[in-house]
Structures are given as structure tokens and as C-alpha cells.
């Protein structure tokens, strides 16, 4: 029976009032084509088999579900980690880029463009382009190019062209504008692999579906390992693709609390944050209607986060709907709390998490949670933090 909470109207690409297709007319034909090709692929057993094969062979799926014994001891409840950090390329992003690359091949489009913030989506895109022999151009804000040098070089090693974007705030928002501008010009030969559950329909539902492997695996692994479902599932939210992929496995399980953690940056009162769902208002950016950080005049406000992957003033439209319906609770933690959690996870579990993921841990580790001994907590460990090591060293003044 379809859930009223999870009411997606695929015909118009809306989640409640959110989503839609607010794009220049030039792109409509390409979105129609993509929707049609995706609809056919969804029900095509051969496509599913090819995708599953690649997720196993290239990505290394299924990803592990790991116990986190010392973290569990710290918070006073059992914590399990869904290890997307162990995927090839070190994050969940590749689940989506493999799927979209297969669709690009079906459409006969051999040039791929992508936007990237932290560089993880750019690396995941460059990786699948190398694997399939596709041309790859990645747009990246000039500020992110400076703070994620390692990932820039990784993309270049993989054969991608990285284009630094100097306009606007010089971060993910403007990289996305520039990728869309490229696409308006090149749409006949080019597929745009959007890296999160944002953008015009069909991207939010398509990217969610490609990421839903996280939640599907995690649900089965939890049942097998613990014999029950988690009491709470926690994931960080920038655009929200790892969270949407994880949550999609549990939306129908009413007893499972779902928590999305946004970046409060220097604090919600500081005006320097990326907590779109906590502090934004609905509006249109990058093709969809969703919560948005904006000023009185409808100009998009610059976002801020210590984590380049969360530094985005928008959020996926399905998250906006899940916020309004109350099915998912959205919280925000500061840069400082995320850095503390980053260090704690390193020392307690021997895992260097991505700064994005550290936000989910920060919420979990906050003593205010008051976890009970029989709580069963599942964290989406969306990526590994090797890319963040130099930045963290600088922020902590070299102190480990």
C-alpha cells in the first residue's frame, strides 16, 4: 500500500509541493529523454543485472555493516556503521555515478559533465568515465579547488578536466550553475551527472533510487546482525543523497526514527551556516522548488560549512517534504562539534570519517541525546576523510 508520507508524484516529479522542473526551455527535451530512458531502465532486468554486477565488481558492494564498540560504549547504546567509506573512491557517490553513466551510454551520450563540492562526486564521476571511456568535465568552485587540492589532482589523474568556477560564491552552488550552463549549450551530446538528490525532475528521484542500495542493504544487514530494525538512523545532509539513499530503506518502518544532520557552520545565529531545512524558506534553485537559504529579495544566500560537501544553500526536494510531514527529523551541528566528532571517531574506531559524515557523528555523540541502553543506532558513514586531513591539520594547528 502506498504510504501517504512517501507520496511522490512521479508524473510531475513532485514530493508534496516540492521538486518540479524549473529550468530553461532548452533543457526540457533532455530531461524528457532522461526520464524516458530511466523509466525504461528501471523495469529492464538486463539494466538491473548490469548495474548490480558493476556495483559488486567496481564499487565492492555490498558495503560492510560494522560494529562500533568503543563509540557504543561512549554513547551508551549499540552503534552500527554502514560503511560507504569502504566503497571504491571512498564515498557513497559512486553508487549514483555508475547508474547514470549506464544511462548516458544508453542515450549514446559520450561526454559527461558534473559539479562537485568536496570533490567526492567529481572523483566518482571521473572514475566511471575512465572505466567506460567517456569524456569528463567537472566544474568545481575556485574556493573548493583551493581547499580540496588532493581531489582535484585525483580527478586529473583519472583523465577528467577540472574547471575552476570563479563566479558568485566560488563554491558548489556556482559550480552547479556553471555545469547547467555547459549543459544548456551541449545538451545534444552531453549527459549531466548531478551528484545529489537535487536539480530538476527526474534527478531527485533517480539519484535517490541509485543510492537506495545503501538503505536496502543496511536494513537487511541490521535484521541479520541484530534481529531487529534500528531505533534511530542518522545521516548527514548537504544536498542529501546519502541520507535519502539510507532513509529510503526505512521510510515505511514507523518505529524507526530518521535523523538528518545539517551543517550549522559557525552557528545558526551567525548567518554563516548551511542549515537549509533548519533556517531556510521554500524557493527555486537549480531546477527545483525546495527549502533554500535566501534573503528577503529572493537572492540565494551564501552557505558556509567547514565541510565543502555540505556547503550548499539548497537541499533535495524530498527532504523538504519529509521535513514538513515530520517523518524525518532534521538537526544541525556546528563546525566545532563536527571537528570534535571527527577526532573522536578517529580515536575510538580507527576510522577517519569525511567531515560531512562527522556531522552525523557529532549529533549522535552530543550528551543531550541521552541514549538508552536498548537503543540501536545506525549511522551512514558516507565517506572517508583522507581528503580532509590537510584541512583538519590546518584547522587544529597541526594538533592531532
Amino acid at each position: 500500500m502506498p504510504s501517504t508520507l512517501h507520496s511522490e508524484r512521479a508524473d510531475v516529479g513532485r514530493f508534496g509541493p516540492y521538486g518540479g522542473r524549473y529550468v530553461p526551455e532548452t533543457l526540457v527535451a533532455a530531461l524528457d529523454e532522461l526520464s524516458a530512458v530511466y523509466a525504461a531502465a528501471r523495469v529492464d532486468a538486463a539494466f538491473g543485472a548490469e548495474l548490480d554486477g558493476l556495483l559488486a565488481d567496481v564499487v565492492g558492494r555490498p558495503s560492510r555493516l560494522s560494529e562500533a564498540p568503543r563509540l557504543s560504549e561512549r554513547v551508551g547504546a549499540r552503534v552500527l556503521l554502514k560503511r560507504e567509506d569502504l566503497n571504491h573512491t571512498g564515498a557513497h557517490k559512486i553508487n549514483n555515478t555508475i547508474g547514470q553513466a549506464l544511462l548516458a551510454l544508453r542515450m549514446g551520450k559520450r561526454r559527461i559533465i558534473a559539479e562537485t563540492g568536496a570533490g567526492q562526486h567529481g572523483v566518482a564521476t571521473a572514475t566511471v568515465c575512465a572505466r567506460f571511456g567517456l569524456e569528463c568535465v567537472v566544474y568545481m568552485g575556485a574556493e573548493d579547488v583551493a581547499r580540496q587540492r588532493l581531489n582535484v589532482y585525483r580527478m586529473q589523474l583519472l583523465g577528467a578536466t577540472v574547471v575552476p568556477v570563479e563566479s558568485g560564491t566560488r563554491t558548489l552552488k556556482d559550480a552547479t550553475n556553471e555545469a547547467l550552463r555547459d549543459w544548456v549549450t551541449s545538451v545534444v551530446s552531453t549527459h549531466y551527472i548531478i551528484g545529489s538528490v537535487v536539480g530538476p525532475d527526474p534527478y531527485p528521484r533517480m539519484v535517490r533510487d541509485f543510492q537506495s542500495v545503501i538503505g536496502r542493504e543496511a536494513r537487511a544487514q541490521m535484521l541479520e546482525r541484530t534481529g531487529r530494525l534500528p531505533s534511530s538512523v542518522v545521516a548527514c545532509v548537504g544536498g542529501g543523497s546519502n541520507a535519502m539513499g539510507m532513509f529510503s530503506g526505512f521510510l515505511e518502518d514507523d518505529g524507526v526514527a530518521l535523523v538528518g544532520v545539517e551543517a550549522a557552520g559557525e552557528g545558526l545565529g551567525s548567518g554563516r551556516h548551511s542549515a537549509t531545512l533548519a533556517a531556510g524558506a521554500p524557493g527555486v534553485l537549480h531546477g527545483s522548488y525546495s527549502y533554500l537559504l535566501q534573503d528577503e529579495d529572493g537572492q540565494v544566500s551564501p552557505a558556509h560549512s567547514v565541510s565543502a560537501g555540505l556547503d550548499y544553500p539548497g537541499v533535495g526536494p524530498e527532504h523538504s517534504w519529509l521535513r514538513d510531514t515530520g517523518r524525518v527529523r532534521y538537526e544541525a551541528v556546528t563546525d566545532g562539534a563536527a571537528l570534535d566528532a571527527f577526532r573522536a571517531v578517529c580515536r575510538l574506531e580507527g576510522i577517519i570519517p569525511a567531515l560531512e559524515t562527522a556531522h552525523a557523528f557529532a549529533w549522535l555523540l552530543d550528551p543531550a541525546r541521552g541514549w538508552a541502553a536498548d537503543d540501536l543506532l545506525l549511522v551512514c558513514l558516507s565517506g572517508r576523510g583522507d581528503k580532509d586531513v590537510a584541512q583538519v591539520a590546518a584547522l587544529l594547528g597541526g594538533r592531532a
Partner: protein, 273 residues
């Protein structure tokens, strides 16, 4: 009573002229120059597109992007754009050209009422393709403002028919694949694109994107009912000021009027009607 745009088009048709439709970003390069540029355009052109600056102009090339960032830097807003239009006191029909978000934030009903009170003739929303937001589209359709639709080279025939069905005022045909911005060569196949739109609707067709020189404007004027010039004008206004921008418009006007007066063009567009 026919709308302001309809009256303009029939007057142009009677004079056998194509419309010169300049685009200017409100508040660029500064408020005073923007006001003067709008008034100069009012003297020379036929329909005036006034762009509302937006922080994320994803359909625009570098020139319009820069102009919108300059305008925002100078404090321009949607409310400020309406105030500018009021103060300019333009006699020619005005089409407000905006991304969706500033209008949503201002309030759609409030915007439509305020713009209508100023006599604004039309509204073009860059990121609202036909059918994308039926509620919003209905509100514009029921207002005195005419909803101007964009048609792109990639718009398929079936979609073209749906798009022109709800269109008012005129059709804005994107003359080439890509962003706003000057280019050296006009898209090949423009004549076919214009003919395709004419086959679907009786509305006048204005062509924009990439038109920068008098010769290009004249070529387009021979095919279409209107010629939109944006980036080339905005560029000159930003670099050399209002007098230089007015000179650009006069050169375009001259080249277009010479060409559209030639009898052969009437045969072309008359045959397609």
C-alpha cells in the same frame, strides 16, 4: 481591447517593420545609468525587456551574469526594479524578465498586482518552461500581464504546440543552443526554426540569444517579427555608458528598418503566416 503588446505588433506590421527589443538589466551598471538607458531605449526601440537581477543566473552567459552581480552589488532588488520602471515612465511596452525565485519571494499575487499597476505589459520567466508550475502559470494568465513563452531549438514539435497554446504577447525564440551572449555567427537553420514556430501559432515571433551586430539584426528582422538584443547592449552600456548604448540601438534600428522595408521579406514572412 487589444493588449499593449498586440497594439504595438499591429502598428509595426502596418509600418512593415520588425520590432527592436532591447534587454537591459535593472540597476546595471548603476541605478542612474540604468534609468537613463531605459529612457534612451524607450526613444529608439519598440518593446523593452527589463531584467530582474538574480544571484544565480544559470541561463545567462558571462556578460549578463556580470551585469546582474553589478546590479545586486548596487542594491538592486525586485522591488527596486519596479520602482525603476515607475520612475522611467516608459511609453513603450515593458516585459519583465526574471528568474522564478525573486517573484516567489516577493509574492506572485503582489508582484502581478504591482507590475500591472505600473502598466507592465508582459512577464518572461527564464526558468519556467510551459507546464512546469500550472498554479503559477494560471495566476499570470489571469493577470493583466501577458505570459511570454520561450521556444528553444531543442523544443520538439509536440511540446511546441503545448507551449504556444498558453502563450501570450509574442513567442521568444531562442535563436541558438546555449546561453545569452553575443556570438559571431547566427545559428544555421534559424529560418526553419522561425517557420516551425509560425506553423504552430499566429503570435509574433521575436528571436534572441547571440544577436550582436547590425548585420545580424537585419538578417533576423527579415525572418522574424522582432529582434532581441541583450548582451551586446549590456556590454556596451557597462563599458562605455548610456550614449554608447543608445548608439548601438540606433545602428541596429537603422540596419533592421532598411532590411525589413525590402519587399522580398514580406513575401517570406507573409507566405509563412
Amino acid at each position: 481591447m487589444p493588449s499593449r503588446l498586440a497594439r504595438t505588433w499591429s502598428a509595426l506590421r502596418a509600418e512593415r517593420r520588425a520590432a527592436l527589443v532591447p534587454y537591459l538589466t535593472a540597476g546595471h551598471p548603476d541605478r542612474a545609468s540604468s534609468l537613463a538607458a531605459l529612457r534612451a531605449a524607450d526613444e529608439i526601440a519598440d518593446i523593452i525587456e527589463v531584467g530582474v537581477p538574480f544571484s544565480d543566473p544559470l541561463a545567462d552567459g558571462p556578460t549578463i551574469q556580470r551585469s546582474t552581480f553589478d546590479a545586486l552589488g548596487g542594491g538592486m532588488t525586485l522591488a527596486g526594479t519596479l520602482a525603476l520602471i515607475r520612475e522611467a515612465g516608459l511609453r513603450k511596452p515593458v516585459v519583465v524578465f526574471s528568474y522564478v525565485n525573486p517573484i516567489l519571494r516577493y509574492g506572485v499575487t503582489r508582484f502581478l498586482a504591482d507590475a500591472a499597476a505600473l502598466g507592465v505589459a508582459g512577464l518572461l520567466l527564464t526558468d519556467l518552461p510551459a507546464g512546469a508550475d500550472p498554479a503559477l502559470e494560471r495566476m499570470v494568465a489571469e493577470s493583466p500581464l501577458e505570459l511570454i513563452r520561450l521556444v528553444a531549438p531543442t523544443t520538439r514539435d509536440e511540446r511546441l504546440r503545448d507551449t504556444v497554446r498558453g502563450a501570450e504577447g509574442f513567442i521568444y525564440l531562442v535563436g541558438r543552443l546555449g546561453l545569452t551572449g553575443a556570438s559571431r555567427d547566427l545559428a544555421t537553420g534559424l529560418a526553419e526554426s522561425v517557420a516551425r514556430v509560425r506553423a504552430a501559432t499566429a503570435l509574433p515571433v521575436a528571436v534572441g540569444f547571440g544577436i550582436s551586430t547590425p548585420a545580424q539584426a537585419a538578417d533576423v528582422a527579415a525572418l522574424a517579427d522582432g529582434v532581441v538584443v541583450g548582451s551586446a547592449l549590456v556590454e556596451r552600456l557597462g563599458r562605455e555608458g548610456v550614449a554608447a548604448a543608445a548608439a548601438v540601438l540606433r545602428e541596429l534600428r537603422l540596419a533592421m528598418d532598411e532590411r525589413t522595408a525590402a519587399p522580398v521579406t514580406r513575401v517570406v514572412s507573409g507566405a509563412a503566416r
